[in-house]
Symmetry: C2
């Protein structure tokens, strides 16, 4: 256990760091165990110990040690550093530090830096109505939750992009280091421009054990570890040991050397002395210290300190078991609390005197409260970019190419603030968004060859074949108040399902913290989508990310399905100025007919859903049924079905509804964008059958309309997990979403058995048979499918979307 | 481009490898481009070229080179090696090789090794009704699809576990190597026991580029790459160059050295000469060759070979553009097809003479067709393990502890075949499954300390803090015909959403391949589940993995929610003998009341859902409403609500239904386990309101019952994304799933406004207020919640589940 101040710590700074460390360890331990007598003014009694012991001691002394040394080093910085605690359940440590440095009290005034505040600190920890045992939005200076492991390093890199003065110390535990996302995050150094960006100082903290067994990295020797990270490009500084005084000295030296080296790299690049150099050898500290260091050596005759047993609560029976309680008291007293806190529970003056100025305290790092430093994007007009349509369907275009032109203008308009980036697993050109390369490039710090295209250390597009890196960097960028867009193949977006889950959990938890302000939205664009991955095959076909986003806390998510380019522009404009949520935007990149002019598209997006009167059958105000669609390909097929119905069964009264904001379908009690019941019934009628062609899995629609009147009248078609390497039209046929199948189903729902209906049925059957033959023999879709145009695409059509406000 | 056989290749083996490589390159190129004249017997005309060019040339020459050298090296092996092609769209290469070696023709007789077969090979490639451009189940010798990148290495390691004679050559592209899962997969070497397992020879194939830009690893130098992988523990062998003859020599040398070294490691361990040694320095080959090697040097005046432009189709206008067509013809002729194939299109005798015996051909690797080598598990009886209950609720137990005892017996019963493993992100003890450590241990090849527990190179439990590794290894293990269970925190299972998606896609695609047989089921157990993560907080609470599994092709998935230990045993027994699917099993680890004796549990599971008559109100055969539940916590709360209803409103006729097989709710047209309509109506009545307490998100139930009669009568409650560090009961209160909220809602649905009902309403309101106070002041649940017991838990109760068959 920690004892007296080691005599060897001659340097006052190290003595201070050791005292701070002991104070923080004391408080971490006290938070886990105590609900009273937190200053040990009297012998520890059972009722002083919490009945339910939560929080992890194992990681706390290491986090405290690093925080103490970061405070020490912060004297030499120009701005408050960001402390990113990757290890899970690390809140006892970080809370101890922010309480000690008073940044906690600055946002939660009741957390006074005295005995009363200390008691509150301990009592609130990990109790119902209190604070979580993970670092989270409740802690000032934090932008990363250590709940689900693996993303701390990515968040740190995301935060330092375009923040040249920011230093992020990112602690990666050896448990976290085993995860795939963390293993893939080390390559981030190749994307940090020392001239423009801040720096991350990663600390690989090896305490050797997960919950019950050794870690892989913990059982590798220092030489192996150093070699591995040197190979990745780091300058490795190793600090190891179990003797506090030696570790303090080594760690201080390593951290000072690391920060000096970072400053030297930055100075070279910023002074233009780094011409022609590639990725610098950014420093990395490997810190190997005992798990649960300074805690009980042995419990129940088994090793505790330095063992996996120290992972959680070392003395689980401290309340009821006198022996364990005595051990707890001895452990707490080993930090000599009377030498750390005065009679009123205040940290002694020398502890506070050693702190850097307030503006350099990690707990005051402004970038950790992204909502406060957020600068809204300057959004250029879409008018010059939007497509002019003479009639619905009169123009064919690639929706994302139009969006790309606008995103280029977004980059241009925000050059000065430099607070917009795009992230992509190497698909920006293939996603037809490459207009942005007229004004920026892909970022790399690695050597650039003459034959490379759009590659530069100054690029604002981050491409890497890792959805985890893209999403994690963007999260860090957004958590620190900036704006961005992650463009991803639809089928591979589920790779980051869990990351998005956790981000929305952060948004919800942060929205309940009074002092936090809303973050910029996290925008995800799925453009190589399920229906047009016919060439890439079954593995590339899957719209399940919609489901994942819909499962998140509803107030913090939106899902937009843009039927054409102008709708996509309107959605994007709205998304990029929204806050406190995740926007999922789905729009294809292939040539498709365009339906709405800009005005109509903007109104359509504002309403979320609306009638497309120009496509409806006769008598649509009293329809026999409703045809609805969401998504570009389903909209196309549904309109083609409407065309068939109008030609073959002109007396069928049907309505055509298009949904762009999917959550408009939700009940208003379930989602803020949910249409009021009256509007919903006005759109879909209160009782007519609705045939719904949906981009995703059909049960999504079933679930969304469940609380509406007569939900059973909704018949959704969508992706039924049927796919292959095939043609675009064969994709919709395989999933029962083709115009012919929709038209035939519409007749069923309308209950039409007359000659006209039967003629259309026969037509549809014949066309499907013809398609099957065409696929079998010519391996292609029928020409008439490719050539189909909306018959009203002459300029005489009346209005576009239904104009009625809702 | 490749030209004559280099004179330097003196060794006949190398000359053969070069000829094979040229033949495979020719065929890869032909598959991408040609639909006729595939042997170039006449000048290339437009109609010989496919109208739609798919497949990736960029990766093909590298894959062909490795396949050729693996064939060469296979002469010295005892069993056919497994070729794992990680790179995407690598099928042109692998198909070329399996056609050449005739393993393709062995499973698809029409793929004859002659001109007709070659024409079919080319025509079928990437066309509708043909074969995918990714390696997949349609290719013999393959167990990995290169569609979604990142998992090839994990599948290879999974396949070699417990297959001591198997060598897997796993090609990892430099694109794939950027992914998180692949980055985290290298640590697999610490889990391979050379005495018991086979070996993986990873080849990091650096061709330098992704689709449009350089790769991170491709731009690192050889020294960096070697250092990095040496640090991870590999013996690195680097082969680099663009001169075929030099590369052939170096690669042959490296592959021979690697295989010799593998055999030496295995020989040492198997002869007992490795006592005390830890993870061996398994070899790894770094192969750096030009992208699209031997393809066109330049196209349209821009570099092609060795450039990112070679990623997909180098000559995209070969059909319509005479210049490109001439380039294509020159490229194809550069392989000298007349020196490779005879007049009948058969490979020349010397090419075939150089092949190893049939039983050593990679395409014949039996482990790649797991369904064929599958040995069913010996499943021990559950009778001795199951809990004996005197009455429902009479016993409290931890469900997973009971399961753990049975899994211990599963390990015992299958010791000899060694075909069962468990995989866990370091939570097996915390998940109360540690009885298995009585008969096995955690596997590690790293040094074991005296203080470590249950750690051994011989362990059959694989724990690592990476859900990706656990899932990927299990997938490889199952794909090669063995059995296993992945135990995971529920909230973190979405980390592998996408992997499970792709596995089920493989199952569906494989089920359409006539020569493949069903694989053992992939079993996932979620036990640290949403409702009992009150201590771990909001980040650990999330049941979304259910949704992800339900989105998969229905015939290949099941979701089981076990309400108690005996039900869990019955489910597990069923799951471990099932095939061709993913079983998701959810069951808590905390002490909970036990409801069903073994007989009833087995019948309950067989039926999928049933009435629990002992809990129902009077007159349940003509009920006013139905109370339904799925999941252990919802079942507990619903039974407690039933208790309240019976006590306060004894004249309320209600039924109690429990659902264990969630997909029994689905419509029979949607899922094979979907209850027939008549049974569904018999269980839930055709028209009464149903209050459904569900473990997951409530809209899951909405979606499942949508196609049933009057779906609007189903009112589901479940997780509403409300959580915190709190108490177990507070979790259900926050999500409106508590007994008091359920009872009150039941009264609403039953339309009861009488005095009895109002008395219960007041009681519920009072109890909820009392709970809120208790949480605020005592930070704990009311004692009566913890102490609540089912009042019928005296031994006099009648039957358990409804006995009627359905």
């Amino acid at each position: 256990m920690a004892g007296e101040i080691p005599a060897r710590l001659a340097a006052p700074q190290l003595a201070w760091a050791d005292r701070w460390w002991r104070a923080a360890n004391y408080l971490a331990c006290a938070q886990i165990f105590l609900q009273d007598n937190v200053l040990l003014r009297e012998p520890l009694r059972p009722e002083h110990v919490k009945p339910r012991l939560l929080g992890h001691w194992g990681t706390s002394p290491g986090l405290n040690l690093l925080y103490a040394h970061l405070l020490r080093a912060a004297h030499g910085l120009h701005a408050a550093p960001l402390f990113v605690a990757g290890p899970g359940h690390g809140a006892p440590a970080v809370l101890a530090n922010v309480w000690l440095e008073a940044s906690y009290g600055a946002v939660r005034p009741e957390m006074t830096r005295d005995a009363a505040g200390m008691l509150r600190l301990c009592r609130m920890f990990s109790r119902p109505g209190g604070v979580s045992s993970h670092v989270g939005p409740h802690i000032p200076g934090s932008l990363h939750e250590g709940g689900e492991l693996g993303y701390g390093l990515l968040h740190a890199y995301g935060a330092v992009f375009d923040n040249p003065d920011l230093l992020a110390l990112a602690v990666v535990g050896d448990g976290e280091a085993e995860t795939g996302p963390a293993s893939g995050a080390w390559k981030s150094i190749h994307f940090v421009n020392p001239g423009r960006d801040g720096a991350v100082l990663p600390v690989l903290h090896l305490n050797g054990y997960r919950i019950a067994a050794p870690t892989v990295l913990g059982r590798m020797d220092d030489v192996q570890i150093a070699r591995s990270f040197q190979g990745m490009g780091f300058r490795v500084l190793t600090v190891a040991g179990g003797d506090p005084s030696a570790v303090h000295e080594q760690l201080a030296e390593a951290m000072d050397a690391a920060i000096s080296h970072i400053h030297a790299i930055q100075a070279d690049w910023r002074a233009g002395r780094a011409q022609g150099r590639s990725t610098p050898d950014w420093p990395l500290i490997v810190l190997r210290t005992p798990k649960g260091w300074t805690g009980p050596r042995e419990v129940d005759g088994l090793p505790m300190e330095g063992s996996f047993r120290a992972h959680q609560v070392p003395l689980p029976r401290a309340r009821e078991d006198a022996v364990q309680r005595a051990q707890l008291e001895a452990w707490l007293r080993s930090y000599l609390p009377d030498t750390l806190f005065d009679a009123a529970g205040r940290p002694l003056p020398d502890l506070l005197a050693g702190l850097p100025p307030e503006n350099l305290l990690p707990g005051n790092c402004r970038h950790a409260d992204g909502g406060r430093v957020r600068l809204d994007l300057q959004l250029p007009a879409v008018e010059g970019i939007a497509l002019a349509l003479a009639a619905p369907g009169a123009v064919q275009a690639e929706s994302t190419r139009v969006l790309g032109a606008w995103l280029r203008e977004v980059f241009r308009a925000n050059t000065k603030t430099g607070n917009f980036r795009m992230f992509c697993p190497d698909e920006l050109v293939s996603n037809r968004l490459d207009a942005v390369f007229e004004v920026t490039a892909r970022c790399t710090l690695q050597p650039v060859d003459a034959d490379d295209e759009h590659l530069s250390p100054d690029g604002r597009v981050l491409e890497v074949l890792s959805e985890h890196c893209c999403e994690g960097w963007l999260e860090g960028y957004v958590l620190s108040g900036r704006h961005g867009l992650f463009a991803c193949y639809e089928a591979f977006a589920p790779i980051v399902d869990s990351m998005v889950n956790q981000h929305v959990k952060w948004l919800k938890a942060a929205s309940e913290v009074p002092w936090r302000r809303p973050l910029p939205a996290l925008n995800i664009l799925l453009t190589s989508h399920t229906w047009r991955q016919d060439h890439n095959g079954y593995s590339h076909q899957g719209p399940g990310f919609i489901d994942n986003v819909l499962n998140r806390k509803h107030s913090h998510v939106r899902v937009y399905l843009a039927a054409d380019a102008n709708t996509l522009l309107a959605v994007a404009q709205h998304a990029l100025q929204s806050t406190g949520r995740v926007n999922l935007i789905i729009a294809g990149k292939q040539h498709m007919p365009q339906w709405l002019n800009l005005d109509s598209a903007v109104r359509h997006c504002a309403a979320g859903a609306g009638r497309w009167a120009w496509a409806e059958g006769a008598g649509a105000d009293q329809p026999a049924m409703v045809l609805a669609a969401a998504g570009d390909v389903p909209t196309l097929e549904m309109l083609a079905a409407a065309d068939l119905l109008r030609r073959f069964v002109p007396d069928l009264a049907f309505r055509v509804v298009n949904v762009v904001n999917l959550l408009a379908l939700a009940h208003p009690l379930d989602h803020p964008d949910g249409m009021p019941e009256a509007d919903f019934d006005a759109l879909f009628t209160p009782d007519r059958p609705v045939l719904f062609a949906f981009h995703g899995y059909p049960h999504v629609i079933d679930g969304l309309v469940h609380a509406r009147r007569q939900p059973g009248r909704f018949h959704a078609e969508g992706y039924r997990e049927e796919g292959a390497t095939t043609t675009p039209f064969d994709m919709v046929v395989r999933n029962r979403l083709s115009r012919y199948q929709l038209a035939a189903q519409a007749l069923e729902l309308a209950g039409r058995g007359d000659d006209r209906a039967n003629a259309l049925r026969e037509h549809c059957d014949a066309k499907l048979a013809e398609h099957a033959l065409c696929i079998r023999t010519r391996f292609d879709d029928m020409a008439e499918i490719r050539d189909w145009r909306w018959p009203g695409s002459q300029p005489s059509w009346g209005g576009l979307a239904d104009e009625k406000p809702r």
